[in-house]
């Protein structure tokens, strides 16, 4: 996937000027926030469950190597295969190789952010394998040739009228009189279209919300059931997941599940929670003949033991972006790569480099709403600040900003000089602004005054007035 994070500001500008996108983003605020709040409020132990979920993942990360090995052993015992991929390229090659061995022409796919991260669809297509996305949102954006704009609702930026137009464009056999004005009729249309594809696919690829070390099981959490058909119908099932999806036990997964759907959509549980362990056994009614798991690192292990380790607790619930005022304003594509919103602002610099994605951790007001809803209690603003520190150390920020900061710091460290200087400056600014009480434009402050007036200072500084009073009394 092409990285456009370096032109974040331009992306954001275009997003702000895009009325259909703005309309769609309005739905994010309406749909997710109240539902999460209601479901959290309905569960008295919700806050304790968050602590618990955090502790489970912290423990796992402390012993990640052991749990990865244990997981691999269990999968192998169950007759499956585990492949470790150090980076995106390695993961793509492993998957293509499996497809080739099976002579696969088409693969069906369940929703997977890792697939987006490694650019799997483009790669398979270029190598003669046709990928078919089966999650409704993923299917829509695949038709539109887009990347997801949200980690759990990939097509959240698309309005239903736009989906209808897309279906009418691509499903050429469609009766023009057929009603496609409602989400349910759109869903039925996609279902009908996909049914044949499920049956024809040679390989099914899914992501995983958890990989259970105790049992060698992969778990997917979905609302549409497409994931089940993807992993049960084809002869071969490939799971792709990143290393931090490892969770020690089934019981641990049960506990984290209690905060996952509630944080994501406000559901108590998602509609489907599906566990798969190895290929079909003789006594099983269905299931694949071959079961592969590709475990991706892609730089994550380098986060262990650093300021960014906490980010590896992320369970991809999307609550942070659902509550982010910046995400609401510009949508997910503006972030310029796979992961948007606060979690993307922390994760993306690790995966593609802070030199390319420096805007992301800076484009935050640090309002802290993301951290306040993150079920895994990930200190997102703190980690964005750590990225800003890295940028500062590497001199990646704009020269003017750096110069301004240094000048300010020079004064801030010298209270006497500071007070003398500000006394003069504020006196002057106060006089200039006295007639109106505000400025409609100010030199060097266009980032402010293009959009809002700048309130004038009252005049004399507090310190100056206070000093006078002390003298007088």
């Amino acid at each position: 996937m092409q990285i456009t994070s370096p032109r974040f500001k331009k992306n954001a500008h275009e997003a702000l000027q895009n009325p259909p996108l703005q309309k769609a983003m309005g739905n994010v605020e309406v749909n997710f926030i109240g539902r999460r709040a209601a479901s959290a409020a309905a569960l008295p132990e919700f806050e304790a469950l968050r602590d618990n979920a955090r502790d489970i993942k912290n423990h796992t990360l402390q012993h990640l190597d052991l749990y990865l090995e244990a997981y691999e052993r269990k999968v192998t015992e169950a007759g499956g295969h585990v492949h470790f991929a150090e980076d995106a390229d390695a993961a793509r090659k492993i998957i293509l190789e499996i497809c080739r061995q099976k002579g696969a022409k088409t693969v069906t796919k369940g929703k997977s952010m890792i697939s987006e991260e490694i650019g799997l669809n483009q790669y398979l297509e270029a190598n003669g394998v046709v990928p078919v996305e089966t999650d409704l949102g993923e299917y829509i954006i695949q038709l539109r040739g887009e990347a997801p704009s949200h980690i759990i609702a990939p097509a959240v930026h698309v309005n239903k009228e736009e989906v209808e137009a897309e279906f009418r464009r691509v499903h050429t056999h469609l009766d023009p009189k057929r009603d496609l004005s409602e989400p349910t009729t759109l869903l039925a249309e996609a279902r009908g279209e996909l049914r044949a594809k499920f049956l024809a696919a040679d390989v099914g690829i899914t992501g995983a919300n958890f990989l259970i070390a105790e049992t060698g099981t992969s778990v997917i959490v979905t609302n549409e059931g497409n994931g089940d058909l993807t992993q049960i119908l084809p002869r071969t099932h490939i799971v792709i997941a990143s290393i931090e999806k490892i969770t020690p036990t089934l019981n641990d997964v049960g506990q984290i599940l209690r905060v996952l759907a509630r944080s994501a959509t406000g559901q108590e549980m998602s509609v489907y929670t599906t566990f798969s362990t190895g290929p079909r056994r003789p006594e099983d009614p269905d299931g694949p003949d071959d079961y592969h798991v590709v475990i991706l690192d892609n730089g994550r292990s380098s986060m262990l033991g650093t300021d960014f380790e906490d980010m590896l607790r992320c369970i991809r619930c999307g609550a942070c972006m659902n509550h982010c005022p910046v995400y609401h304003a510009i949508g997910g594509h503006a972030y310029g790569w796979v992961y948007p919103g606060p979690m993307g602002a922390v994760l993306t610099p690790t995966l593609i480099g802070v030199d390319k994605s420096g805007h992301l951790p800076n484009a935050s007001t640090f309002c802290g709403r993301c951290e306040s809803v993150c079920p895994m209690r990930i200190p997102l603003p703190k980690m964005m600040r750590h990225w800003r520190e890295r940028e500062f150390e590497q001199h990646l920020q704009p020269k003017a900003a750096r110069w301004g900061l240094k000048t300010w710091a020079w004064f801030a460290k010298r209270p006497r000089v500071y007070q003398l200087a500000t006394r003069v400056a504020m006196g002057g600014l106060g006089l200039m602004g006295r007639a109106k009480g505000r400025f409609a434009s100010l030199p060097l402050a266009s980032g402010w005054t293009t959009y809002r007036d700048f309130p004038a200072p009252e005049g004399e500084t507090f310190q100056a007035q206070w000093a006078k009073r002390r003298k007088a009394s």
């Binding site: 954001a12 609401h328 309002c367 802290g368 520190e389 940028e391 400056a425 409609a440 507090f462």
Partner: protein, 264 residues
């Protein structure tokens, strides 16, 4: 003012951390803070060696300068019983972030921690520490209150300002939608990403206008200047003030971004 702690006899020595924005742009807030603290039974002092809490450097990734500024704050303020700031953001910087800034430093870390323990935002200090339950002030009109982010989420300030505003004679509180959503200020964010900030503050001013109150209050001058600037640009007649001005009954002067009365 009703303040049980004051009645106890031992008057605490409180250092006012004026904050750079109040010092430079709105000294009235500083004087309102002094009045409220004195009425609550505190001895108020204003250490001369203060500038800023260091947050601009800290949030820009410049830890060295942030630490240098913070060391100055610790030196200037550690000798008092309490440190109080009319800002959730600046108090939050000292209370929630100085520890992290000096983490592991054998000399400064304990001093930073000690200071964090006795630093408070003004209104929550009055209510939670001094036990103030009512103020003697009058304000004819309706207000709406914006919860600034640091105060709300780092310091848990939400009920305190509302409880004291409820005791101001003649004042009615009309809550806006999404009082707890960011106004888009974010320090340097509002200038660096002005267009995004504008979108966020526009949603905020819409909620403010729809609340139908004559005056907008909040506890942080940065947010107030941002919202006032947008309201004035939109031609709105809503007046904007720091909550301390109303609680202290110091509302004769012009509101934020307004000209002095009788002068054209």
């Amino acid at each position: 003012m009703t303040a049980p702690a004051a009645a106890a006899g031992s008057k605490p020595r409180v250092a006012l951390f004026v904050t750079c924005l109040v010092d430079l742009f709105r000294p009235t807030v500083g004087f309102a803070a002094v009045k409220l603290l004195e009425d609550a039974g505190c001895i108020v002092e204003v250490p001369a060696a203060q500038t800023c809490c260091g947050q601009p450097a800290y949030n820009s990734g410049d830890r060295a300068d942030a630490r240098a500024v913070a060391e100055g704050v610790i030196r200037a303020f550690e000798g008092y019983d309490f440190v109080v700031a009319p800002s959730g953001s600046c108090a939050g910087m000292i209370k929630a972030h100085y520890g992290e800034l000096f983490h592991g430093d054998p000399n400064w870390w304990p001093r930073a921690d000690a200071l964090a323990g006795k630093t408070f935002e003004l209104v929550s200090f009055l209510v939670d520490v001094m036990g103030v339950t009512q103020v003697e002030a009058a304000f004819e009109g309706s207000v709406t209150y914006h919860d600034s982010c640091s105060g709300l989420r780092e310091l848990g300030i939400k009920a305190q300002p509302r409880s004291l505003l409820g005791t101001v004679d003649g004042l009615t509180l009309k809550e806006m939608k999404d009082t707890d959503v960011c106004c888009g200020f974010g320090g340097t964010f509002c200038v660096k990403y002005g267009e995004i900030s504008d979108k966020i503050v526009s949603k905020k001013t819409k909620n403010i206008r729809e609340a139908g109150a004559g005056t907008l209050l909040a506890g942080d001058l940065g947010c107030l200047m941002n919202m006032a600037g947008k309201l004035k640009r939109e031609g709105s007649g809503v007046e904007v003030r720091h909550v301390a001005e109303v609680l202290a009954g110091m509302v004769e002067g012009p509101a934020i971004g307004e000209k002095r009365k009788g002068r054209d």
